[in-house]
Symmetry: C2
Subunit: 233 residues, 2 copies
């Protein structure tokens, strides 16, 4: 799909394109195509050649790694404004994971081969990308620390708080996670089973920390949840 009617304002405020001139932005946009993803559709698939990279305009994705025996791990979530699928920029030839749309989503797509051209045009782009990837590395290390040292309840608390951070939406009942989340999803974020997540969350519900139903999570008392996540007791 051609993209000649895209406006600069779409990407003007994105972290990654910070400090680029209007002209450069227009050039970048001219090379982009638009990709619409239905719920459940994937932008790219684990193991396939990394031919494109993306920037999410709206919607929400999860990036999933599947083990040989079929278990799934949610590596991270992609929020509007994030770039993703930049495997090729790290000189990997294949995507290491699959990006699945949680809700109907819209993304810009560029050919991987254009990455170098972008950099040449605007060197700060590389620095911005480095910062982005650096942040993700920090996040990954945090999760490693959590998985290594914390028990399930605290890990789930951290996961939910992270969701609040990324997609929290104030309502009069509390803070709603603004896209469908199943127990299974949370299990895949925390390295546990949907059963355990269910037990943990019903306990929280009894204590008035959260309120949840099918694919829906509302955090009633973020502060107490935070205390539970941090202070081990």
């Amino acid at each position: 799909m051609a993209a000649n009617k895209l406006d600069r304002s779409l990407i003007r405020n994105l972290m990654i394109f910070q400090q680029m001139s209007d002209e450069d932005l227009d050039n970048v946009l001219a090379m982009a195509s638009v990709r619409q993803l239905p719920e459940g559709g994937s932008a790219f698939t684990q193991g396939e050649p990394a031919t494109e990279f993306f920037c999410l305009l709206n919607g929400r994705l999860k990036v999933v790694q599947t083990t040989p025996d079929g278990q799934q791990v949610v590596v991270r979530h992609v929020n509007p404004g994030d770039i993703f699928g930049i495997a090729k920029a790290m000189r990997r030839t294949e995507y290491p994971a699959t990006a699945v749309a949680i809700v109907e989503s819209l993304a810009l797509a560029w050919k991987s081969t254009q990455w170098e051209a972008f950099i040449a045009r605007s060197p700060t782009l590389a620095l911005n990308a480095l910062q982005t990837v650096g942040q993700r590395l920090q996040d990954a290390h945090s999760r490693i620390r959590e998985l290594s040292t914390e028990e399930v309840e605290r890990r789930v608390a951290h996961a939910v708080l992270r969701l609040v951070q990324q997609a929290g939406k104030k309502t009069d009942e509390g803070i709603l996670i603004d896209f469908p989340v199943t127990r299974q999803d949370i299990a895949e974020m925390t390295g546990t089973t949907l059963h355990t997540v269910s037990r943990v969350m019903t306990a929280w519900e009894a204590k008035g920390l959260v309120q949840s139903s099918r694919k829906k999570v509302i955090v009633i008392d973020p502060h107490r949840l935070y205390v539970l996540a941090e202070h081990s007791e």
Copy 2:
């Protein structure tokens, strides 16, 4: 310590400095200082301002995160040729972890403020850094997947194989990990306890997979260990 007698060949072959001209290399070296680290000494400490970044010339470091309650997690190992402490390049103001010398080590150090100058001089440096950080991100995701889905024995197997990869040295008994490794270290790499690691490794020893003693690990049968790490059965 001044470094005007450093030779280009020191860093000519390092991944990160690939494709730089001799002149640029000399410039980079001119700004470097040399840092010697005794065993147990640290190049930088978690939480302190990120004033420098480094490149390991020889020796071996581990990068450790400490939780508020004092538990430690080994984030990664630094091998000769690796750059480390590049927090500032990712626009973080503080080091997120501590780098401890496992054996006496020698590193080059630069002021963090010089990073931008380096990039300006040689833009490919940013791309190389991006690749390096990208690789680390992949590794981190692998560990997350392992911690989420695998049982202790397989995680320990993976950790040992990773050590072999990084510091394996052929001897007539088998492949020796070329620096001191305690059960505790392996526990901190795999999110378990030294007790469990000890049990696992004595079992392996009985099966003829490895041979180990105080701070020493020799892998006798890497292939069978690999099978154990991959094939869940």
